[in-house]
Structure formats: C-alpha cells, structure tokens
C-alpha cells in the first residue's frame, strides 16, 4: 500500500494505483475524457491534471502512479485554470453537442469557448458515412486516442485506424483515408464503445438524431447474454420504441471489458424481424 495526501486528506491505495484511483478512493470527482478503465492511459486530454508538490508542472491523475508521501492538490487556481482552458480549447475547436460529460465539465469549470471569436479554427468537416453500421463524425473528435487503442493492441488487434497528420491537423484515419469497407475494419464497434464524444456512432442512432427522433429519456437499457457463441458476452440493449438502437457492453464486465465482436454489436436484426403484416396461420 502507498499513502498519500490529497487536498489534505490522507488516502491509501494499492501499489500500482494511480492518482486518479486515489482521488476516487477519497471521493474527489476528477474530470476525465481520454481515460477508460479498459485501455492504457494516454493522458492526452490533460483535463485530469492535478498539482503535485515538488513538480514544476501539473501531472495527469489518470496515468501518474501514486507514490508514498505524495502531496496532491486537485482544486487550486492552477488546476482549475488548466482544466478550464483545456475544456475551452476543446469546446472552441470541436463539436461537443453529443458529449454530455464534456458539457458537464465545461459548466463546472466555467469554460467560455466564445472568447476565441468566430474565426477560431475548428476541426469541422463532413460526416463520413461509408458503411451501413456506423458513422464517423470527426467534427466531434477530441483526439483522445481511445478508438485507436480499442482497435489496436488494447482490445481488437485489428489496427484499421491510427492517428495521422501532426499538430492541429492530427486526425484519426485509415491509410490514405480509404473508406472503412476497404480498410482492415472488422466492424467490432469497439471504437464506438470507447468514444467519449459521439464522434463514432451507430448508424441507427445517427439516423434517428438526423430526423430529430432520438429520445434518450424514452429508451430502456436491458442487459442480456449474446446468443451467438460460447463466450457469453454481456450485451446492453438500448431500445427505443421497441427497436434496438444501440448495443453496448458494460466496461466493468469481466468477460468483455466493454468490448464485443461484430455479431454481438451489430447482429441483432433477427431479434426484431417482424413481418410487415401479421400473417396468422390458422
């Protein structure tokens, strides 16, 4: 065990735990965007930074291991300034309309993206619709790297996408930006499961949103077990008006860690094959 102090509270966590784990133990809510329990931390978004005594710069809570005797502050003016600025930078360059967590943090830290004016450069671009299963709207991409990790060595090992370009032009891409059907993509949808901003979205959700019919309040979520093979993955079916609109898996599930395959993720149509007219066989 290691003992450290966070905001004056003494906290002890297991060896190898992160500052973020320790914050959770101390019930201090820490904003995160690029962090996901099931993926290697890339600490790229920097919204979780905290002040560590003796460190010249702020440190990312999600990736930095807790060490014996660390003294950490999570709510100093420096921390609040950095978190606010990161959120302003994102909100002024990316469409966060389908990113509820980011919106909540913006409110909490008083981020005001309008300060940068209407001419501020953004990542706005057309939605990529090149297959029947999911869409990619990189206007909403905060470049958290999670989809790349989920597609790569952290889960799927398919390596269909990577970060391409550099600086503000860095973006998620297949090779030469070829459409997904020409890429290595196997449509596991694990990138969608990891995406924190809705940049990657089931086509079913995208179409309902386009028609103004997406209604989360009216949806139910039902856990079930995938019927395809013997692994027994837990599926969470999101259902609106008696139709499955999205299939996820709980990230804390020990079998899936939130990841599925193409069958569990997208192969649900047979459940709702309903004849157009009710044909009775008398």
């Amino acid at each position: 065990m290691v003992e450290l102090t966070i905001d004056g509270l003494s906290v002890s966590v297991e060896d190898g735990a992160t500052i973020l784990d320790a914050c959770e133990r101390a019930q201090i809510e820490t904003p995160t965007l690029c962090f996901l329990e099931s993926l290697t931390p890339v600490n790229a978004c920097r919204v979780c930074v905290v002040e560590l005594e003796g460190s010249r710069v702020l440190v990312p809570a999600c990736a930095r291991r807790a060490e014996q005797g660390m003294k950490i502050q999570t709510d100093t003016p420096r921390v609040r300034h950095s978190r606010k600025m990161v959120l302003e930078f994102l909100a002024s360059s990316v469409d966060l309309s389908t990113a509820p967590d980011a919106q909540r943090y913006c409110e909490r830290y008083g981020a005001d993206p309008r300060r940068y004016g209407t001419e501020a450069e953004t990542v706005a671009q057309p939605v990529k619709i090149d297959n029947a299963l999911y869409v990619r709207d990189y206007s909403k991409c905060i470049l958290c790297y999670k989809c790349v990790e989920a597609c790569g060595a952290d889960a799927q090992n398919t390596f269909a996408i990577a970060v391409a370009g550099r600086g503000f032009n860095a973006h998620i891409s297949t090779e030469y930006d070829v459409p997904l059907p020409d890429s290595a993509c196997v449509y596991c949808g694990n990138c969608i499961g990891a995406c924190p901003t809705g940049a990657l979205m089931f086509s079913s959700e995208h179409e309902l949103r386009e028609r103004g019919e997406w209604n989360e309040a009216a949806q139910t979520q039902t856990d079930t077990i995938c019927s395809y093979c013997g692994v027994g993955c837990t599926l969470t079916l999101h259902v609106q008006e008696n139709s499955i609109v999205k299939v996820m898996s709980p990230v804390e599930n020990g079998t899936t860690n939130g990841h599925l395959c193409v069958k569990g993720r997208f192969g649900y149509q047979y459940v709702q094959n309903r004849p157009a007219d009710d044909v009775s066989s008398d």
């Binding site: 600490n43 790229a44 920097r46 600025m85 930078f89 994102l90 002024s92 940068y116 550099r166 600086g167």
Partner: protein, 560 residues
C-alpha cells in the same frame, strides 16, 4: 637523369599533397605521365603551385623542374603565383556577357572576393555562370548558375568559428574532417585511451567531478545521468547522441558534426564504455545531410581502424554506432519523442516518469545527450574533471558554444567560458552589424526569450540567466536591430510552434493555434491564459515553452 633544383623547398602540406598523389615509384626512374594529376593535387590542396612544391613534384616524378614549370604554366586552372584558397571564376564569355556577368563581377569584387574571369563554363543555359573553387584538405568546386551576388555569398562566406577559449572547436575548420589520421594527429583518441586506463567507474567519477551540465537546454548533470544508467540491472543499455538540432537559431551541433565528426564518435565511445552500452545511436536532423555524411564517414573509418566494432582498441569492448536520420520534426529533439522515432513510431513524447535512465528507447535504460554535451567528454578526461570544473563558474563549468546570428557583424559559432558577459560575446563577433542599434536579443531559441540591450552585462551562466528570467537554452544569441518588425517575428515564432506541435495533448495542440490566432488578431489579453495552460499542462517541453518567447517579449520589449 641528373636533375638540378633551386633551393626552394616544399611545405609539409605541399609535400603531403604531392606524396599522396604521386604514390610509390616502384623503381620507375621517371613518371612524367603523373605530372598533371600531381600538380592538380597541389593546386587543390594549397590553391597555387609554389617553387618549392614544383621542385618536389619534379623530384618525386623524376622530371626536370623547367619541364614541370612548362606544364604548370600551360594550364589556366593551375596558378604559379600566390592565390587565395578560394577563388570565384566568373564566366565572361559570349552567353554570360549578355546576362549581367560584369555587374556580377563588380559586386563580387566589392565584397572582397577573389574573382577570375573565365572562358565559357558550359552553363550557358543558366547564364551568368560562376564556379567557386576552394582549396584545402577537402577541396571543393561548386558551379552556381544563374549566379547572383547573394547566391555566391552563401558559398563564399563560411561559418565563422571563433571564441576566447577554444576547446570543443579547437579542430573545427582547421583539420580535414574526413580524415582519421588528421584527427589522431591533433589529439584524437587520446581521451579514449585515458578512459580505458580509468575504467568505467573512473570515467564517470571524472565527469561527475567536472560538474558538466547538459547543453541541450535542460541543464541536467551529465555525470549523474551516467551513474544512473550504469547502475541499472536491466540490459541492454543504450546510448543516444541527440543531434536533432532544430531549435530556431541553433547551429552549433551542426558545426561540430560537420567539422569534427570524429570527436563525436570518440565521445560516444567513451560514454558507451562508461555505461556499458554496445549499441549506440546518433539521431541526426534530416535537414543536416552533410553532418550525417561526415558522421557516417567517421564511423566507417573508426570501425576500419578498430576503434569501433567487436574489439575496440583491443580492449574487448564492443560498440556499434548507428546513424538515424530525422525526417523533419522539431519535436523529435525531445528525448522521449526521439525514442519513439527510433522505434518506428510517430514522434510523440511520452509521459515522464518513467525517465529515460530507467526506461528509454525500446523500454531499456538509455543515456541520451546533446552533441555538445558529449563533445565535452574527451576534454574532461584529458585534463581531469577537477581541472575542467575550474573553467567557468562553480555552478556553470566549462565552455559553451553560442550561435550568433541576425544583426551581428560576424555571424557564427563562438566558444567562450561560462561567465563571459553577453556584451563580451557579442564583441567577439564584431558587435552589431554596421554599427546599428540593437533593439532585442533572442536568447536560447524560440523556446527561450527576448532580452533588451540592458541585459548586456549579464554573465552567460545557467544561474545568471535563470536569475534574469532568461535561459541559455541551446546557445542561441540572435540580434535584432531597430529595423526588425518584432511583431512579425513573434507571429513567426507562434506559427513555428503551431506547425511543430505533435498534436498529442490538448494544451499544446489547440493552445499553439489559439496563441497564433490571438497574436494575429492582436487580442493580447488572451495570451497570458493560453501561455499558462501550455506551460502547466502540456506533456512535454515543446508545449511547456511554446509561450516563452512571446511572454518575454510582452514583458521586456517596448513594442506594445
């Protein structure tokens, strides 16, 4: 044949040039067929053929000096009267005479160059044409067409190398950088010899005693880094020479690599010996082809001479040095980004900890040092760490290379002991260009900061720079006179960081864009907020310093 010679004797250099070209007579009494190649060799090495050289040519080839003279005076390219080592042949033949060659010659003569009129150079399609010939240990001939005074001045003005205390630069520009023999004749490989006598621990002890601090910008104690790597149980240990010199205004490492590449190879061999490394890398900026070529040549010659490879100096030490070339990315000068680049990945920095001494390239303990830092190792071993520590000040030991450019009389690399004042350094380079008034001085590069002439009395040390809120950084001293548009300079610096951000973390990826936009729109009030988050929350030094120059200009320059 009984030959008669005057008393004129060749200089050692002339003798060497003749011997190399004439080779062994193998019993032949006369070798007249070699007269022209040997005269060429003298001309290329010295720039003209003296009486002494001519006699020696005759002697070695068994040809009467009058005959040699007859040949030498027949050819226009050979000179029997003293001539500068560098001459510019300007074509004044019929194509060029109608393309402005007279104006070109006049401009060149005004600038003090030695200009010779030449018949057609065969570059008529690109008239006016010029051919710059430079005699020396590595002679060169460069055709330039169409030639302009500006284009020619690039070729005619070599880097100034100067200073008050030449240690790192003592061979630069004075010996043939491609010759191992020349290097050894000027003290080369004595330090490695000494290292073998001291043993790895002894080498590190000398470097610790020297109190050498890293010259890449972070000023970390080199000896402590070596101790940490040497003590790691994980194997293998790697050594990397960081030659990705990309900080705007910096060219000292290029000069070291181009002019004294064997010194870098020897220094790396010493460091590798001390930390127990058998495979080292030198990561050279992609834009430095000559430096990479010279290093590759030095490594090949050292290997052929048993100074690298399976049994270095027959001491049972193994070492291979691999040259890796960058491909246009400032960020790869950041050590962890450089590791990723060597590993074939995007040059994105890693989060620290873990630190390179524990987990560097390929996840192994890695010693990584800037070129200039490594270049200090041979002098430290030769004079002893304690003696080295007496140079400079107690906290900033040794000499330092500074890159002077901008509105300075003699731009170049200057080596001075730490503690020399900024004014003394600038005076060494001839002061401000044309006596103009200096408005601002950029210290330490784009990641450094601006000071005004008020800072002229500042001693150039790590501690004095820090106390003045400045940094020596990578040794940049760039002068701007009153005509410089400082706002345009600042916008360009902001643009530089925007272009060079790797894009990994939000504070830097978006912050560098917002900083450039705020400068462009003159919304200066935003700059402080943007600068703070970049400095506090960026992953690496690029983002953390991307606002430095602009913030220092906001504070120090009277332009707002």
């Amino acid at each position: 044949m009984d030959l008669h010679f005057t008393s004129a004797r060749p200089t050692p250099e002339e003798r060497a040039a003749v011997d190399e070209a004439a080779g062994d007579a193998n019993g032949a009494r006369t070798r007249r067929h070699l007269v022209l190649p040997v005269l060429h060799a003298v001309q290329d090495r010295i720039g003209w053929v003296s009486g002494g050289a001519l006699n020696y040519v005759g002697e070695r080839l068994g040809v009467a000096p009058a005959d040699v003279y007859g040949v030498a005076t027949f050819y226009a390219s050979l000179s029997t009267t003293p001539r500068d080592a560098r001459v510019v042949h300007v074509c004044d033949d019929i194509a060029c005479m109608n393309a402005g060659e007279a104006e070109l010659r006049a401009a060149l003569e005004t600038s003090g160059a030695t200009v010779l009129r030449s018949p057609c150079l065969g570059l008529c399609d690109r008239a006016p044409a010029a051919l710059v010939e430079t005699a020396g240990a590595t002679p060169s001939a460069t055709a330039i067409a169409p030639a302009t005074p500006a284009l020619l001045s690039d070729t005619l003005t070599p880097t100034s190398i100067g200073g008050s205390d030449l240690r790192l630069l003592k061979r630069a520009g004075r010996i043939d950088p491609e010759s191992l023999d020349a290097y050894r004749a000027h003290g080369g490989y004595l330090a490695l010899q000494k290292a073998f006598e001291l043993g790895p621990k002894g080498v590190i002890a000398e470097i610790v005693a020297s109190n050498l601090l890293g010259r890449g910008g972070a000023a970390f104690p080199t000896g402590r880094k070596m101790e940490a790597v040497a003590g790691q149980s994980a194997q293998p240990h790697y050594l990397i020479c960081n030659a990705d010199e990309s900080e705007p205004g910096t060219f000292k490492d290029r000069v070291l690599m181009e002019h004294d590449p064997f010194a870098i190879v020897e220094a790396m061999t010493i460091a590798a010996y001390a930390i127990g490394c058998e495979h080292a890398f030198v990561y050279v900026r992609g834009e430095y082809p000559l430096a990479a070529h010279r290093l590759e040549n030095a490594i090949a010659r050292a290997r052929a001479a048993g100074l690298l490879g399976d049994d270095v100096m027959r001491r049972g030490m193994r070492l291979e040095i691999e040259v890796r070339r960058g491909a246009g990315a400032y960020i790869c000068g950041e050590e962890t980004a450089l590791f990723n680049s060597i590993e074939g990945k995007r040059g994105e920095p890693r989060n620290k900890p873990p630190f390179p001494v524990e987990s560097g390239v390929f996840g192994k303990p890695t010693q990584i040092n800037n070129v200039e830092t490594l270049a200090n190792l041979p002098p430290i071993l030769l004079e002893g760490g304690a003696a080295y520590a007496c140079i400079g000040t107690p906290n900033s030991t040794g000499t330092r290379l500074f890159c002077l450019s901008g509105a300075i009389a003699r731009p170049g690399v200057y080596e001075v002991a730490h503690g020399t004042t900024l004014r003394a350094l600038i005076d060494l380079a001839g002061g401000a260009r044309n006596g103009s008034a200096i408005a601002a001085i950029l210290l330490g590069g784009a990641a450094g900061g601006f000071v005004t002439p008020d800072a002229m009395a500042m001693p150039l040390t790590f501690e004095d720079a820090r106390a003045a809120g400045a940094t020596l950084g990578s040794g940049v001293v760039m002068l701007f006179d009153e005509r410089a548009d400082m706002h345009a300079i600042l916008r360009r610096i902001a643009e530089f960081f925007r272009e060079e951000s790797c894009g990994q973390c939000v504070p830097c990826r978006v912050g560098t864009v917002r900083q450039a936009e705020a400068l462009e729109r003159k919304e200066y009030s935003l700059l402080d907020d943007i600068g703070r988050v970049m400095r506090d929350a960026s992953i690496c030094g690029l983002g953390q310093t991307a606002a430095n120059a602009i913030e220092s200009a906001r504070k120090n320059l009277p332009i707002w």
